[in-house]
């Protein structure tokens, strides 16, 4: 979707502000926000793609004025309510008012090291031959779905070159919406800066994205 998260090439945010000796967390609530988000992800009720979509659906004015962990908390609240674990009333009151959905698992402290070490690989067994080969010229599709996609706006309808065939990966545009993993080939597509940014582009710049096969058309 063309949400506030799709930031590549937008202007007006000012300079990058590196912080000397930056701590991992700037407040205690950020630590809890990280832990709550990971713990709720362990329920197995939603995918990483659905959680990304919940965050990108935050209204633009709220998204852009929120700190990163605030975006996470807003996203996880949406998911908890959507999947029946909590109600809006419970979120507002901070107290249990009724029984809710039961998760597949609750992450206990002793499970944390194994869960973090395992992660969530999203490559899948190959089911088809790749349509495109390394070195081939391709064009990205021009589409503007209201649903989740990982093709950034700045890289739509652009000519690029297949630099690498990366493997067979879960397709986020479907997986975010409960339509299954439907894995596809994933390619690294490289673009000249001028193809993307046109007049005035840095002539020494190339930009690549990782694009699923259905984002691409032959040239």
């Amino acid at each position: 979707m063309n949400g506030p998260h799709d930031l590549g090439g937008q202007m007006g945010f000012g300079p990058v502000a590196p912080e000397m000796n930056e701590p991992y967390f700037h407040a205690d609530w950020e630590k809890r926000a990280l832990g709550i988000t990971i713990s709720c992800g362990a329920f197995g009720a939603w995918t990483i793609d659905e959680s990304r979509h919940a965050r990108e659906n935050i209204p633009p004015a709220d998204y852009l004025s929120a700190s990163y962990y605030e975006i996470w908390i807003r996203g996880v609240e949406t998911l908890l309510e959507r999947h029946g674990f909590v109600t809006r009333q419970e979120l507002l009151s901070g107290r249990k008012l009724q029984e809710g959905a039961v998760p597949k698992r609750v992450l206990k402290a002793e499970m944390v090291p194994a869960a973090l070490a395992k992660g969530g690989p999203c490559d899948r067994p190959v089911e088809a031959a790749p349509l495109f080969a390394t070195g081939e010229r391709v064009k990205t599709k021009n589409f503007n779905p209201a649903t989740h996609t990982r093709l950034p706006r700045y890289a739509r309808a652009k000519l690029g070159v297949v630099e690498a065939v990366q493997g067979f990966f879960v397709f986020p545009d479907d997986n975010a919406h409960g339509k299954g993993e439907n894995p596809q080939w994933l390619y690294t597509i490289v673009f000249d800066g001028g193809e993307i940014w046109g007049e005035g582009a840095d002539p020494s710049l190339t930009v690549s994205i990782d694009a699923w096969e259905s984002y691409l058309e032959p040239v």
Binding site: D6, L7, G8, G9, P15, V16, A17, P18, E19, E22, Y24, W29, K31, A33, L34, G35, I36, S39, C40, F43, R52, Y68, Y69, I73, F85, V86, E90, L91, S93, G94, R95, K96, G100, V106, L107, A109, M111, V112, P113, L116, A117, G119, C122, D123, R150, L151, Y154, Q166, F169, I196, W197, D202, S204, L205, T206, S208, I209, D210, A211, W212
Partner: protein, 198 residues
């Protein structure tokens, strides 16, 4: 946000959905165990061992796993090597994808709109804000992390380090050098992301 997050944790605990001790364990992991020293060890080994560097180019996930660095947000790794001709820079314009298993949790600037918007359109301007001014003839390659591949920049080995062992070499590699907003061994910029600073 302090009150809102506290209320959420209380609610979820009361409902039996989360274990506060698990949150403590997650935080402890990312505060003390998983950080950019992991990545610095990968870089130092790549500088010291051509076979490892070659493995890293072909299959970064396996090569990095051989050093014990695996797991969440490092499931699928790719190493990109700086050369005399090309400087690599990593961003995620869509959210904040970042190789946790080798660099730990990302800094605020990596997740913020200024970096995510500008790294793909004005990388030289962004690098200058980090104090890194590249020669005009140096090409810039930006990697937008739009899938689950996580990128680790292997900076160029600084000159005059021929006699150094892997431990000493790792000390020259800042977090920012492995994102591409710094180069290795530069004291000018290491303060923003040196291993000591973390």
């Amino acid at each position: 946000m302090q009150a809102r997050v506290k209320a959420l944790e209380t609610l979820l605990t009361e409902k039996g959905l989360i274990d506060p001790a698990a949150i403590d364990a997650i935080v402890e992991t990312y505060e003390t165990k998983v950080g950019p020293r992991n990545g610095a060890r990968v870089v130092a080994k790549a500088w010291s061992d051509p076979d490892f560097a070659d493995w890293l180019k072909r299959d970064a996930t396996a090569a990095i796993a051989s050093l014990g660095f695996t797991g969440r947000q490092g499931e699928h790794m790719r190493a990109v090597f700086n050369t005399a001709e090309t400087h690599n820079l990593v961003v995620c314009t869509l959210c904040s994808c970042y190789p946790w298993s080798v660099l730990g949790l990302p800094p605020v600037w990596y997740k913020a709109p200024a970096y995510r918007s500008r790294a793909v359109i004005d990388p030289r301007g962004v690098l200058a804000e980090f104090g890194l001014v590249l020669p005009e003839e140096k090409k810039i390659r930006v990697w937008d992390s739009t899938a689950e591949l996580r990128y680790l920049v292997i900076p160029e080995r600084p000159e005059g380090t021929e006699g150094m062992d892997e431990t000493a070499l790792a000390g020259l590699v800042s977090r920012d050098a492995m994102i591409g907003t710094a180069i290795a061994g530069s004291s000018k910029i290491s303060a923003a992301g040196s291993p000591e600073a973390l």
